[in-house]
């Protein structure tokens, strides 16, 4: 069982992901954007991070750059709303470039997220 930081601005997506993780017995802490997530990281230790890309204040790419820049090697699963190859969603491959361990495209099944997570834990 792992302690996981979930970074997602959409309440509905946040709820659904949190419930998936909880159903597998993981404990979850919420953050609405990258900035809040950085605060949470100061306060505690996490086994993995699940993060959206498009978020206000600090997006997922900036958040990734920030944590990898400080040498934090915690596994990150990026969940992207973008369709592959669509002009505005090039950020998903970029997430991988900047240190995401796995990139998942929404909407994904419960098992997809759990197996992605177990692969990095």
């Amino acid at each position: 069982m792992a302690h996981i930081l979930l970074v997602e601005d959409s309440p509905e997506v946040s709820l659904s992901v949190r419930e998936i993780l909880a159903s597998a017995g993981h404990s979850v802490e919420d953050a609405g954007n990258g900035k809040q997530a950085l605060e949470r990281l100061k306060g505690g230790k996490f086994d993995a991070i699940v993060s959206d890309i498009w978020m206000p204040e600090m997006d997922g790419i900036a958040f990734l750059k920030e944590i990898r820049g400080t040498g934090n090697k915690v596994p990150v699963v990026v969940i992207s709303g973008g369709a592959p190859n669509a002009p505005l969603t090039y950020t998903a491959p970029m997430a991988a470039t900047f240190g995401a361990n796995v990139v998942l495209y929404k909407p994904f099944e419960k098992e997809e997220l759990l197996s992605a997570l177990s692969s990095v834990l």
């Binding site: 601005d9 959409s10 509905e12 997506v13 709820l15 659904s16 992901v17 419930e19 998936i20 159903s23 954007n33 890309i53 498009w54 978020m55 206000p56 204040e57 997006d59 969940i79 709303g81 973008g82 369709a83 669509a86 002009p87 505005l88 969603t89 495209y105 929404k106 909407p107 994904f108 099944e109 419960k110």
Partner: protein, 626 residues
């Protein structure tokens, strides 16, 4: 008459032999004694005097002979041969007098022989010559022509008076001569003039020798010298005669003409080199006739000026292009220019898209065009490029649209898929939790529906019913509603003085437009500033150009902010769907696209003016219903 005295005085010389001597003169001849009486006359003299012998011999001299004696006497008596010319009663005579010698041929006698030769014919020729010479002098003066003559024997050089004038020198101070003359010649031409002049002096003719002289006052003149050789009666050349003519004006005209021709040649070459087809049509009785086509025109149309006539410009327009031809023909009829996007027909019947630019040429501003210049441009490649660009823009827009919609829908589908799965598993054990999941699923579904609606509104497949509504309360309410959601430091000021402003709109769309614009204005101001809303009547008297507002009553809705402004690159794209400058997570990028398509649906026009760091004003013009 004492002819016997004559016989005695001549030493017994036979009278008949004396008479024979006298008859040997073909001209009238007399023997005159010391008292000036004629003692013997030949037959010619009698004929000449018109009197019988008895009225001549032994009588004093009369007629031309008496006048003649007067002149001889004035000269101090006759010694030896005397030869005089005398005019008398309409004829010229040469009178000769010599002493009659004795039979030994040496001893003088008191008698003189006198003969008169009619030289009228020669004299007339002489006069004719003088007259010609005088006329020639006058002619050379009029022709600005000077003459000169060089006698070879003594190298004497004579200049006509005008030759001095022509060279700007004075008869008193200038001594004509080879070296002196060369000083008057332009330095660049001296070698040439020296060569031709020397040849002339050697006896060669010199025709059309053109050179410049520099007058003492510094004036440079062009002259032409023509010289020839004069021959004496035995055919030997003895002098050179020449004319010198001032040809400065002719030279200048010649240079002007040459310059004009040179420019014409350049213009012609330029026209020929033009990548655009150029043709010139001139006015003739039945319309306009092709005068010239350049190489590009010929290449484009396969027509030359001959094959274009007699149908002229009409030849280029296929029969199917009735509309195009009618517009061109109207312009021609009214002597007007214009641009025409047409289908053009080649000589072989194939067609190509082209732009015909028609420019009238007026000889006089008030009159009909005397010619037309046609500029022809092949638009085939441009059309292909434009089509390709349009296609790539379509693809880009489609990509943005699909990407943006996909992102929104994907995010909304995530809870639907995840929670329906989880909900099923907790349905029995935890129905409360399941209900919460189903609420989220339902909300996500409704949000997805809203996204689809926005897309459809943009695509205008979902046009709501438009009705005649008063914009004043609609806009006021929408502004109030929009203001509620804004940060506290943002002030919204409405300047709406109207009571009614009727337009064919949808109430929902009006609030959608106002909300969108007010929120954009607020976002641009970074939390503080003023948004001014205006609603006014606008009456357009005359529609100036296509693309501008048509004449009639309009309602002008303005939303002005004091925000960051929009740079020109961004401004060009603001109406593109899913184009956004906002931070990620804020806005779909559909807002202004939706506003644009809504306003278009009302028959309105939207215009954005913006200056970076000074703010933006969005103006919407809506046709007013009166």
């Amino acid at each position: 008459m004492d002819t016997h005295g004559l016989q005695n005085d001549l030493g017994g010389m036979n009278l008949s032999s004396i008479r024979g001597f006298l008859e040997s003169f073909h001209d009238p001849a007399l023997i005159v004694d010391q008292s000036d009486q004629a003692v013997m006359a030949n037959r010619a003299a009698l004929r000449f005097l018109g009197r019988p012998v008895e009225q001549v011999e032994g009588k004093p001299l009369d007629g031309v002979f008496s006048i003649y004696l007067e002149r001889v006497r004035r000269k101090g008596g006759a010694n030896g041969l005397i030869r005089l010319e005398q005019y008398f009663e309409g004829a010229w005579y040469v009178l000769q007098v010599f002493d009659l010698l004795g039979p030994d041929g040496r001893t003088p006698t008191p008698y003189r022989v006198m003969s008169a030769t009619d030289v009228s014919e020669r004299k007339r020729r002489e006069f004719d010559f003088l007259e010609i010479a005088a006329g020639l002098e006058e002619a050379t003066r009029i022709a600005q022509m000077g003459t000169f003559k060089i006698i070879w024997a003594n190298l004497q050089i004579d200049w006509s008076p005008h030759n001095y004038t022509l060279h700007g020198v004075s008869h008193d101070t200038f001594q004509p001569g080879g070296q002196a003359y060369l000083v008057l010649v332009h330095p660049d031409d001296r070698a040439y003039v020296n060569r031709r002049g020397t040849a002339l002096a050697r006896g060669e003719a010199a025709a059309n020798v053109e050179y410049r002289i520099v007058r003492p006052d510094g004036a440079v003149r062009w002259v032409r010298m023509d010289g020839r050789v004069l021959f004496d009666s035995s055919g030997n050349g003895y002098a050179s005669f020449g004319t010198i003519q001032d040809i400065t004006d002719a030279k200048h005209r010649e240079e002007e003409l040459r310059e004009l021709l040179r420019r014409n040649a350049i213009l012609y070459e330029a026209l020929e080199a033009s990548p655009n087809g150029v043709a010139v049509f001139v006015s003739v009785q039945e319309g306009f006739e092709a005068l010239y086509v350049n190489a590009a025109f010929e290449r484009l149309t396969q027509h030359n000026s001959f094959s274009l006539n007699p149908a002229s410009i009409r030849t280029l327009i296929p029969d199917s292009e009735v509309e195009s031809w009618s517009r061109i023909a109207t312009a021609i009829d009214h002597s007007q220019g214009g641009d025409f996007d047409v289908i053009c027909r080649r000589r072989d019947g194939t067609e190509f898209p082209a732009k015909i630019e028609l420019a009238p040429v007026h000889d006089h501003p008030q009159q009909a065009a005397s010619a037309f210049v046609v500029n022809l441009r092949d638009l085939t490649i441009e059309k292909q490029r434009a089509a390709a660009l349009l296609q790539s823009q379509k693809m880009e827009a489609l990509g943005q649209l699909s990407g943006g919609v996909a992102h929104e829908i994907n995010n909304l589908l995530q809870p639907v898929i995840a929670l329906s799965d989880l909900g099923t598993s907790v349905l029995e054990k935890n129905p409360e939790k399941a209900r919460q999941y189903f609420d989220v699923i339902g909300n996500s579904g409704r949000k997805a529906r809203e996204v689809v609606r926005q897309v459809l509104t943009f695509a205008r497949r979902d046009s709501p019913q438009l009705s005649s509504l008063n914009l004043v309360p609609l806009v006021t309410d929408a502004v109030d509603l929009a203001a509620k959601g804004l940060p506290a430091q943002i002030e919204v000021v409405s300047d709406i003085q109207l009571e009614t402003a009727m337009a064919l709109v949808s109430a929902t769309q009006v609030s959608q437009v106002v909300l969108n614009l007010v929120r954009n204005a607020s976002d641009a101001m970074n939390g503080t500033g003023r948004i001014a809303i205006g609603l006014k009547h606008l009456n357009i008297e005359q529609s100036a150009m296509p693309g501008e507002l048509h004449a009639g009553p309009w309602i002008k809705l303005t939303v002005q902010d004091q925000g960051c402004g929009i740079d020109s690159v961004t401004l060009a794209r603001v109406f593109e769907p899913f184009f956004t400058t906002k931070p990620v997570g804020r806005g779909t990028g559909l807002g202004l696209s939706v506003v644009y398509s809504i306003v278009e649906g009302w028959g309105g026009v939207i215009n954005i003016e913006s200056k970076v760091d000074q703010g933006t004003i969005v103006v919407i013009y809506i046709p007013e219903q009166v």
